[in-house]
Symmetry: C2
Subunit: 391 residues, 2 copies
Amino acid sequence: MLNFDMHLPTRIIFGKDTQKEIGSLIKPYTKKALLHYGGNSIKKSGLYNQVVSSLKENNIEFVELGGVVPNPRLSMAEEGAELCKKEGVDLILAVGGGSVIDSAKAIAIGACNDDIWKFYEEGGEIKAALPVATILTIPAAGSESSPHTVITNEEKQIKKGYGSNYLKPVISIVNPELFFTLPKNQIANGVADMMSHIFERYFTNTTDTDLTDGLCETTLKTIMKNALIVSQNPENYDAWCQVGFGGTIAHNDILGLGRAQDWACHDMEHELSAIYDIAHGAGLAILTPAWMQYVYKTNINMFVQFAVNVMGVEGSYRAPDAIVTEGISRLREFYKKMGLPATLTEIGIEESKFELMAKKATGEAYGKEHSIGGLKKLNWQDVQEIYKLAK
Amino acid sequence: MLNFDMHLPTRIIFGKDTQKEIGSLIKPYTKKALLHYGGNSIKKSGLYNQVVSSLKENNIEFVELGGVVPNPRLSMAEEGAELCKKEGVDLILAVGGGSVIDSAKAIAIGACNDDIWKFYEEGGEIKAALPVATILTIPAAGSESSPHTVITNEEKQIKKGYGSNYLKPVISIVNPELFFTLPKNQIANGVADMMSHIFERYFTNTTDTDLTDGLCETTLKTIMKNALIVSQNPENYDAWCQVGFGGTIAHNDILGLGRAQDWACHDMEHELSAIYDIAHGAGLAILTPAWMQYVYKTNINMFVQFAVNVMGVEGSYRAPDAIVTEGISRLREFYKKMGLPATLTEIGIEESKFELMAKKATGEAYGKEHSIGGLKKLNWQDVQEIYKLAK
């Protein structure tokens, strides 16, 4: 096991009616907030009014910026940062899913730094950001307690992630009742995303990781079991509790402590959703089994463990390839039951694009070639092969 | 599942050589620290010198208070609090196991409040405490990231716990290499304590808790598997990583989120170690199987789940009592392999004391009778029966 530094400062307020407490919860941090959200759904559902009432009851001034879209745009983050500076905003309250929260984090950077995109493009440490609080409406990205944000630069057609401890939200409200109205495809995309956050940490060459192995495996199994329930019965509160809490645990990094991590699937997926504007989760559901198929021989015992402990495969350990293949097959079957796409063709991405996508995913296209992935290091030719397996 | 409020602000720095960073890690919090520790073992091992060097390198002044004993005493906490006030100390650095850390927390209360014992005796909220940092030398109590502290009032012969968010350490160093020199009985006591922290959360009547059920079960299994390894090979770093990290996870409350908790075994055990000065873990190992035997019919399915998922019992679910009995028997067997005592008689506690102990555990002896336990509420007669089962 590797050394690690665990710091989970985000306070998670979980359960029924908790969104009504938002005003009193953020009051210690703010006099004037930016209320940031996506489309009209939070107005239709009544959530918007609940939030506004709670802010007013607690004498918290606020300005608004709505209209965040999936794969959130740099241009809106820049607009939000300007607004914060002009209005003297001291906290961003994100009400929405991962896109809204990621956009809020980009605004939080921009309000305290000159250039937002520079950090996504070049890395480097921010020295300050406004505090972010969240009310989660889609369990998926784990952004409600992670240090991460992903933004799309629409001019350059590049989707990039950035992370900093300054971007861990101070408070996040997770009320599974707010998930009851999600459409089936959004549930599926969210589940595929949170599962991938675990896979990226789980598949590792680091040895002697019993505890986090077990934590990853039980969280994956719980999410999968309960995802099938909420997909059929989206108003099942208790099943949503498991999925919702699972999505937070999946990405607050407890499950990845002391392990070398992978993240190749996320890197490969960003090329899909940056250009084609498909859902991140759908892209991950397509790529993950193909990635497993391509890399498993690098560490076959890790994949046998996955097949047995997570996918419940039984069989002869003298035929480990068969166990792994069955495990991958069951994972595909699960994604299919959730209604997720299985191939790049289905979502309209043609083979002629694969080479450029692979070169962009590995930086080759920008003259900054680097391998991606931890378990097996992948160059652009490897990535192209994986796209082909996912064709 | 119940609503919950999760807040884990303690930064855990885990792994090899991490204790050498203590000075730079606590520097943002302190100009003058109280270095608090137990006996001479940290001087013999060289840890004391490493800590002092790191403090000096970072120009952190410090005063010292050593000599904390197991089941730490109120009188020393009072002495420490006076010292902090006199010397203008602004942080307590606890170097030791749970006793030292619990004592440090009591000092942290006393440095900012008039009366320490009042809070342990009567509850009530503290409004301030000095920050506590820790270097853990015995994995057991989980005090390195919990809000809890347990102190013995030696005049009154009462052991009492207290908890507050102000008492969650700001930083804790967990380096499994520091555990290599622990004697076998101390390893066993620590393991029994951390297992009990999970049992107290795991055994519940709250339903629909798939995720935390699974997290509890895998953490228990990992601790038990690796505890047997370190008990035989106390210099096995990787096995210690699982036990050490497991002990932290066991008590930072992730495993108990959204669940009604029990804590009867801890309440019953405090009567043992307050008076007889036996190790807390040894007392828990004696009482836990007896408690299980006494209460399991209240929620037999919960105990079947324990026997099957944690203790690996297979058998006919049409004979659930047999499954539970086998699960409890395997737990006793595990404690025995670890070298822990199995009966109150073995540790010199006679049956004639049981009634008074039971009346003290339930407050009856002080005219403040209350039931203890969550899964099954126990009055003093119930507690007496459990002591008899543990005879």
